[in-house]
Structure formats: structure tokens, C-alpha cells
Point group: C3
Chain length 282, copies 3
């Protein structure tokens, strides 16, 4: 292919992906999938509100005694390592095993993965062996998980997503899809053998806690209605557009948080078509 043909092929692919994202959004609203969430105490309320606003039906079942039976009726599973307890850790493992057995899509968000948080990092290593459908995190977490040495600063990233995404390709041995959030987001797809860069959002998003956690749960929700790559792409586009629209309304964190939830709820096919901003990198 010469360069022109290549560009043309890419723009056809981009257009096709966009159509499928809109289809996924529609399916999420019509099917309202039940999403089993095991998340942290900081994010629980926000995650539930984001999923409800997006049209899904969230349930936070994070005890080991109900994790299996509930994973068995859910349509997707989201596991987030933010503030684990011993009981949550047991629940995570049971729920992930159940998801693997019934081939239910599940998302692993390895919050804080790294040297200084060993307990959760060891659990993440065990969960990775259960083949999460999608792994999503910030650049520091994903880079460390891919085996790189990273200077950690708590649960916030110290790296830029564009510096990391290529080294994260090795993670595709353990999962269908890797999603890295940052100023730009990167989605690494095994199924399509491409990397997608998603632009948009707002610099205020990292200033509101739990946005990353909610993004992980939203990927899981989309995972119930479409393929792993499209689930990650749809969720990131949904978030990036909501961030953009919220920022147009307000530039302060408290009101941004409210406007963001409004925008998650108000998004529709037209807005996705108008505002989605992503490119296929290879």
C-alpha cells in the first residue's frame, strides 16, 4: 500500500470503529446489563452513579460469601484494587475465577500496583493469571505491571501515557486488551492487532477522585454488550466526551464533578458522532 491508500484504509477503519461504538452505546441502554463491581471505599458511590448514568445496572457485591453466586448472574465484572480488605481480596479471586469459568468479560484495575503496595500487587499478579478480559490503569500502574521499574507516587501516575503504551504491548499475552488512561488514552487490542489513541477529556479529570475507577467499571459495562476492544474504546470515548462537555460548562472541580455525571447521562449517538476523537496508530 502506498501512503495515501494507507491513510484511506485507516480512515475507513476509524469510521467503522465509530459506528460500532455508537452501536455499543445503544446496546448498553437497551440491555442495561448487570455489572458486578468490587471496588474501593473512595469510589463506590461514584462508580455506581456513573454506571447508572450510562444506562447500566451496577451492584457492589464485595464479600466472599456471595461473590460466586452473584458473578454467575451478572453480565460483566469489574475488579478494582483501590482499598482492599481481606474479605474483598477473597471476593475478587472467587469472582474472577467464576468469570473465567463462564467466559464473562471482566476488567482488572490494578490501582497502586508497585513496590510499595505489595499485598495488592501480589493479588494482581494472581488475578492476571486468571486472564482478565481487559486490564486498565494509569501509565505508572500499567508500566509497572508490564515489568518496568517505575517511581511510584501513591495511586496517581508519575508517567505520561504516550511514553508507556509501547512497552505495555507485552501485557497482551495475559489479556485481550490493555487500556491506559492519561492526557491521551491508549487502547492496545490483541483482537484487532492495533493501538488506538483517544483524545479529549479535561485536565480536571485527575483532580476528581475515582474517575479512573469509574472508567474501569464502565469498560466492564460495555464489555457486556460488545467485544473487549470496542468496550474499552466506547468507555474511553464516553468519558472523554463527558469530560469535554463538562469542562465547557465549568472549570472548577466540585461543579465539574456534577457536570461530568450530567454529561455521562446526556451523551447520545449524535454527540458520540460529533465529538469522538481517536486515531488508529497501527
Amino acid at each position: 500500500m502506498n501512503q495515501l491508500e494507507n491513510i484511506s484504509a485507516q480512515s475507513i477503519q476509524t469510521e467503522t470503529l465509530l459506528e460500532k461504538v455508537i452501536e455499543a452505546w445503544t446496546l448498553l441502554h437497551t440491555q442495561q446489563p448487570l455489572v458486578h463491581c468490587i471496588t474501593n471505599s473512595v469510589a463506590a458511590n461514584y462508580v455506581a452513579n456513573v454506571l447508572l448514568a450510562a444506562g447500566a445496572s451496577p451492584a457492589m457485591i464485595d464479600n466472599p460469601f456471595e461473590a460466586e453466586s452473584f458473578a454467575n448472574i451478572a453480565s460483566a465484572l469489574s475488579i478494582n484494587l483501590g482499598t482492599p480488605t481481606t474479605e474483598q481480596m477473597q471476593a475478587m479471586k472467587i469472582a474472577a475465577q467464576t468469570a473465567q469459568i463462564k467466559a464473562m468479560p471482566w476488567v482488572l484495575d490494578p490501582v497502586g500496583y508497585g513496590t510499595f503496595l505489595k499485598w495488592r500487587s501480589e493479588m494482581v499478579d494472581q488475578l492476571v493469571l486468571l486472564k482478565p478480559t481487559i486490564i486498565r490503569g494509569n501509565a505508572s500502574e500499567i508500566s509497572t505491571l508490564a515489568g518496568n521499574q517505575v517511581q511510584s507516587k501513591g495511586v496517581d501516575s508519575t508517567l505520561a501515557s504516550d511514553d508507556v503504551y509501547q512497552t505495555a504491548l507485552t501485557l497482551l499475552e495475559c489479556t485481550e486488551c490493555v487500556a491506559i488512561s492519561g492526557e491521551s488514552d491508549f487502547i492496545l487490542s490483541k483482537e484487532l492487532d492495533i493501538t488506538i489513541k483517544v483524545n479529549g477529556g479535561s485536565y480536571l479529570q485527575p483532580k476528581v477522585t475515582a474517575t479512573g475507577c469509574a472508567l474501569g467499571a464502565l469498560i466492564a459495562a460495555y464489555g457486556a454488550v460488545t467485544t473487549p476492544t470496542l468496550a474499552a474504546l466506547a468507555a474511553h470515548i464516553h468519558f472523554a466526551i463527558a469530560g469535554k462537555l463538562a469542562f465547557e460548562k465549568t472549570q472548577s472541580v466540585g461543579s465539574f464533578n456534577v457536570a461530568f455525571l450530567d454529561a455521562i447521562y446526556e451523551i447520545n449517538a449524535e454527540k458520540i458522532y460529533e465529538y469522538a476523537d481517536f486515531e488508529v496508530l497501527k
Copy 2:
């Protein structure tokens, strides 16, 4: 009684109930009762803010080591099974026993009751034996608790409240009052031998997480200042009016959530008198 007399008797009863609801609202503000809450990680912040906005004094004491001593100084107790832990389960049982012994009003909210969440459902069965003053839940939960076979979908209801309320009357053997939330709310009273239907609210309420949980806690708060039936009625009217007023201001979920809390706080006797919309069914 002929039909006209019957209608007239009912409208007198409605008027009397409304006066008593306003009285309860006033007492809640003047007495600011201490409400002992054992609730879930999704709802904790929201429940506390709703109770504070309504004039009560909430305290989330959910460990088994302090549950008894704290229940002993509280004026009401609210138990919610949303995201139970082993320690919370122990605390629930201790607090409920303490409430029973001191004859303190307490509310049981059996979130997710049903086949797929056995651990909590067995605890609910045990708690029901301790005679909760009021049992409140959505139509699925209440119907299942009343012994019916229900298709569960996580923690959201799959049934309409008007299809369920008559089958729930059997629960009055275990409690003074049953409250079922839905598009319309139903309050089943043992003390008055009536069923009350409360209209109002907004279709957005189920789109905001933890509204049901907060409603349960608000019933408990009112329970500290009035009878079980009036407590349930006052709380449901308070919520329905707040939902209506919030929806007049905004039709998106994030800002609705904020406007709803504002409305909970801004309600007063005049607004209750103007907007309360309920009817006595028998």
C-alpha cells in the same frame, strides 16, 4: 357506609394524616434525633448528608464492638444490607437485639434479598425474627421477603410496586409497617390497618444510587419522633416532594442529585401541605 360517606371518611383521614406528617417534620427539626446507621459503602456519605439535611443527627457505627453501647444512646436505628462485611453483620445483629430490648424503633432495608445473595438473605431472615419496626425495600425485595418467587436483577427491582403490595401484607406478622418504594410507594400499616399510596418523586430517583438506602435511614429518623406508619409516610412524602422539586430544577442525574439534597433541606410545613400527594387505599 355508602360510597359518599366512605370518600368523606377517607378525606378526613387523609387530612389528619397530613397534619401528623407536618407535626413529625417539625419534631424532627426540633429534636434532631441521634440515628444509629449501619449502611453500605456506596450509600454511607449520601445517607449521612440526607439525614443532616433533614434535621437529624446521623452516626455510622457499624462495628460489633460498639454497636450495643451506641444503640443504647441512639433514638432510632437503620440497618441496610447493601455491602455487608462479617463485622457489619455482627454489628447488625447486636444493634437490632439492643433496639428490640429497649423498644427503640428500627428499620430493616433488605437490599438484594433473594436467591443469589444467600449470605445477606439468611441474615435478613434472622433480623426479621427480631421484629423490625418497619421493613422497607423495593418491590423485588419485599415480594421475595413475603415468600414469592421473583426474578432478581442485582439490587434493582424487576417488579412494579403496585403489583406487589397486596402480597406483602403477610409481612405485617413480623413488623408494624411495610414500605415499598417504586414509581408509586406503598405503605402497609398494621397499627392503622390501612394501605397508603404515595405519589410523586421523579423517574430520575432510581438513576441516582443510594436513594433507597437514604429513604430507609430517613424513615428511622422520623421513627424517633412519631409512630411507625407516620414515620414511613412522612419520610416517603419528604422524598417524593424533594424529588418533584429537584426535577423541576434539572433533568440530569448529577445536578438532580445536588438539587435533591437541596430540596430535602428546604422542605417545610408549607411545602408539605402544598405538594404531599397520597391516598388511603382501604
Copy 3:
């Protein structure tokens, strides 16, 4: 010194303190210190959002298996006894010990300290022996901790801060600084041998849950960049100004909560200079 000289000396001191508070605010934004928070389920989301809005980098690490390693990389620690679990209790002790060993500033917020909440109160007594850098609480908690008999009402104060602050001076044997929140706030400093009264805020602040908890965490954040007394002073001024500015925008609790977070984020040197309202009492 005659009286005029005394007043003049005090106003110089006030001016100097104000300059240092502005310096601390600047440092908080440039250094974005990592703050290790162990807090309650009601406050977790709010605390994280307040710290992010103020420029700090919060991380809620509340399990005993990671408390030591994380405290070792953090710049400050905030311990809040709101809704303790057994695992959190273990984490608190480990983190506090780690802070003491590495001489990291840490804040103790003894939520609900008193006769009816013995489990946490005994833990608070143990934590006090580990010499918290700053102890902060409402008037009831601080007064009880200072050995006075207080009628408790859950986690809200039954006392006024001005009636309590003098009896709390004895606590300076265990800590560098005591901060008492209320209609006016009082900061008792061992290092400067003064008491500072901070005015401002809004009567709506106690109507929003977790504001006290967030204040404790903000003191810890400032503690990473300045001395204990200045950290307490800067955090209280930051809060009082935010409360004042938020109240100018709205007088209802839901929207106040949002406006308050906006104001925490929007504060700058000019606003601190213009609105800070405090006096040195001795």
C-alpha cells in the same frame, strides 16, 4: 509592655502568620505532597476530593499489610476514627508507629471519642501515646480527650469550641498542636506558646457530613510543607474562606457542598490575604 505596644506586637505576629500561611499554600501546590489517609467510609470520597482540590495527592491505604511500606513513602499521615474496622485499627497503629519512627507529621482525628464508643476510644488512647503531631476534633471530642466529662451525642459536638479550648491546653503534653473546630476554631500551639482563634466559615458546614474529616486530612497535607501550628492554621483558614465563599453562592446544603469544593480549589494567595480572619489570643 503597655497595652498599645501589646496590640502592636500582636498585629505584627498576625501579619507574619498570614504571610507564612500563604507560603504554606504555595508550597502545597508546588510540592503536591503524598498524604497517607486512613479514614472512614462516610468521608473517604470527600476527603480525597478535598485534598485533590487543595493540590495534595491523597492515597487511602487502610489495610495493615501495606500501612508500613506506604507510610514510609508518604509525606504526611492522617488518621480518622470515624468507622473503624479491625483491619483499619491495625493499619492505624502501624502507620502511626511508622510516622513516629521517621518523624513524619501526622494528624489524629478522634471521631466520636467518649464513653459510648469505647473500642475506638481505647485505640485513640494508644495512638496518643505515639505522639501525634496534631490532634484535631470538635469541642466534645477534644474536651473528653482532655479528661473532662462530656455528654456525648454521637459524632456531633454538644459543646461550643470557646467553652472548651482552655481546658484542652493539657493535651499539649501529648502533641505539638491541638485544633478544635466549631463556630469559631481554636488552634493551641506548643511551638509558639499561643492560642489562635479562626473565624469565618458557614453555619452550613456542620450540615454537610465529613467536613471535619476532610479538615483533618488537609491539616496533614499542610503538615508536609510547614510546621504543625502553621499547618493547622493554614488548613483552618483554607476551610473558613471556602465556607464563606461557598455560602455567598448558595444557602442550601447540596449546592453548598459543591460550591465548597469549588472554593477549596479556587483559593489563592490573594483570597487568603483578603479573607483570612484570625486573632492571636495570647
